[in-house]
């Protein structure tokens, strides 16, 4: 069952997870992509504004992308995304946190330039086990419309 533009009306899409994030993952991502001491070194992290080891914000966003994929994008006739309107890093992701993801559709409209597709804009919020919001993003994807998908499958 492939999801199309029509499967994403504005409103709450669902809540997903939990997904545990380990210290080893945090250190491995930081070593490759964001080698700041606050993401790599316990002592330096305790002296930082975040007061303890925390994951790179890019790691958190990448994990949210994976949770989005598992929740819906992986089954969607998605053509990709033009970008991200806004990301807010609200609180640090700590080793051992269990992440849940709330997915909301804030806007769904048919593309003017490619009417066989639609633009679905999501607001995605990652929370820890205490329910505290850690990161919020607003980002559109381009999804095929059902009629276009049916033609493709018939052809």
């Amino acid at each position: 069952m492939t999801l199309t533009f029509e499967d994403f009306p504005p409103g709450h899409f669902g809540s997903f997870g939990p997904r545990r994030v380990t210290r080893e993952e945090i250190l491995a991502f930081a070593a490759e992509f964001d080698p700041q001491p606050m993401h790599l070194d316990e002592a330096a992290a305790s002296r930082s504004m975040l007061k303890g080891l925390s994951a790179s914000g890019w790691h958190l966003c990448s994990i949210m992308m994976r949770m989005m994929f598992d929740a819906c994008i992986g089954q969607t006739a998605s053509l990709g995304s033009p970008g991200v309107n806004e990301v807010r890093w609200l609180a640090p992701l700590r080793p051992g946190d269990d992440l849940t993801l709330d997915i909301e559709v804030v806007e769904a409209r048919v593309s003017r330039s490619r009417p066989e597709t639609g633009i679905v804009t999501f607001k995605v919020t990652a929370r820890n086990a205490a329910g505290q919001a850690l990161c919020e993003w607003v980002s559109p994807i381009i999804a095929a419309r059902r009629a276009a998908t049916a033609v493709e499958q018939a052809g």
Partner: protein, 160 residues
């Protein structure tokens, strides 16, 4: 690392280049963004991207990598000259991330960072808040990536 007071609007810094290999693209995608056009050459060719394309989160993470690495190089050089080095705080977020063109296997992207705005933090007056436009340009001179990022930077008299 420069202090808040040493930074001016319009200052631009080249932070380095990175070549996206097919293996690197697939490794990142299999972990974080396993959409078919990020994992398979043939699926990439059939997609809007026209080839095996890096996940947009991979491109953003590489931009971060080069910003951090170049910043650490500048800090080491300043320390070697006997100058004080400012701390970088965490980032509250970013806006206007644009994946303008696909980054395909074999592409080399050069990243640059330009200061757009500066203000003192109201809640934490020992820190300044900096907005920078970070961009990525491929080997054909095409702009492929752009983001308006925000970061805390230490003020010179912090803690004094």
């Amino acid at each position: 690392m420069r202090f808040f007071e040493d930074i001016e609007i319009g200052q631009r810094r080249e932070v380095g280049s990175f070549t996206f290999t097919a293996d690197g693209i697939k490794k990142f995608a299999s972990q974080f963004d396993p959409q078919r056009f990020h994992l398979d050459e043939e699926e990439g060719r059939k997609s809007l991207f026209g080839g095996l394309a890096a996940s947009g989160w991979h491109v953003g993470s590489v931009c971060m990598k080069l910003l951090v690495t170049d910043g650490q190089r500048l800090a080491r050089e300043a320390l070697a000259r006997g100058e004080p080095v400012a701390a970088w705080g965490p980032s509250p977020g970013f806006r206007e991330l644009r994946w303008i063109k696909p980054v395909l296997a074999g592409d080399t992207v050069s990243f640059a960072s330009e200061v757009e705005s500066l203000r003192v933090s109201e809640k934490r007056p020992e820190w300044g808040i900096l907005q920078v436009r970070n961009t990525g340009t491929n080997q054909r001179g095409e702009l492929v990536f752009s983001i308006l990022a925000t970061a805390f930077v230490q003020r010179r008299n912090a803690g004094a």
